[in-house]
Symmetry: C2
């Protein structure tokens, strides 16, 4: 029952845990989302059962690994969202922050986007704590909170903020994913185009000749 014993051993366990996470990080960076538990264990210089003792199952390792990156990315996004600047500038900075992150480490973010997708049927029965689609949902909720806190949207503000939060995050994600694959333009151009979309240029645009009347 000594606290000294517990803290000392726990400290060692935490250090190992961090080392294992870093090894997993390396493997995911190299092999992408298909990284196997065997490969991660080998990279860490150990064998599988240790991974399972530390993280329970693959979902646990995924969750721990995801938390690191989502927390880091969300911190960057919060900084961009909270910068003292015009709204348009803040929106563009936020978009650019996200796109720069996925551009720098595409494999990691592809890994983060795909939820658990377990092999066995254990996932389907009861998912008390792990059903969440982690990164996208968290970003959506976070953005929704910022929108609701800072914008005056009238009586439906709460619902509007949440819908917009998830919608904008989805827009950012899908456009970023497509852009990463095709690279049809520079990052700055993409940012400007998306901000234009959010700024109502879709509604303001004129019809082409032979337009919607037909």
């Amino acid at each position: 029952m000594d606290t000294t014993q517990r803290t000392e051993q726990q400290r060692s366990a935490d250090r190992r845990r961090r080392e294992l996470l870093e090894a997993a990080d390396r493997v995911v960076l190299r092999d992408g989302p298909q990284a196997s538990m065997n490969a991660i264990a080998a990279e860490a210089g150990i064998t599988k059962p240790i991974l399972y003792r530390h993280f329970g199952d693959k979902g646990g390792l995924y969750a721990a690994l995801a938390k690191r990156h989502t927390d880091a990315l969300l911190d960057s996004l919060r900084a961009a969202l909270d910068a003292p600047a015009e709204r348009r500038e803040r929106v563009e900075a936020t978009l650019d922050t996200y796109l720069a992150a996925i551009e720098a480490r595409p494999q990691v973010y592809r890994f983060l986007m795909h939820p658990a997708e377990g092999g066995t049927a254990a996932e389907q029965g009861f998912d008390v704590g792990k059903h969440s689609a982690p990164l996208l949902r968290r970003m959506g909720e976070e953005l929704a909170q910022v929108i609701e806190d800072r914008l005056d949207l009238g009586p439906e503000s709460q619902r509007l903020a949440r819908v917009w939060g998830h919608g904008i995050v989805g827009m950012m994600h899908a456009a970023g994913d497509w852009w990463l694959g095709e690279r049809p333009c520079s990052r700055a151009e993409l940012v400007r185009s998306l901000a234009d979309l959010l700024w109502g240029r879709l509604a303001a645009a004129g019809d082409r000749i032979g337009g919607p009347g037909f």
Copy 2:
């Protein structure tokens, strides 16, 4: 070399193929994206190798199954996009069509969106359909085409249209996914909120008290 023989046998093969696809459809509707080849074969009353003879590998079966639903959904979306009405009405009709579809058969569309399922390493070698979501890409390209055809967006119209196509589709998808999970409001409310976002209400909204200056 008779044409009659060939067409006869091919007709039979096509019929079997359709039957197998319908069995696969049933299993996916029941078991979700984790449906295994064994389960599909059992549902069809046969064994695995026949599936592989017809569809090559799991990706082929996925692609064939996906094509059916994507084509059907895209047809509905095109109809909504081409309706003779105001732009705002068309946008809302398109959003509502998509949301009604995913509401009616959530499992199918979850299957279509999350195909990647890291099986063996064989999948990694030749990636016919490895891209995260053919449905999202196709919808994005399709919408981009409609936007470019019908809107006058100035000199950068082509790039803008493609970015917006993928962005709007991503917005629709992410918001729909979140909405399906939480059901925080009615479908009509969601449609209106998203259309409001696209109509520039984000840019037009006023600041809250103690706003961005802090």
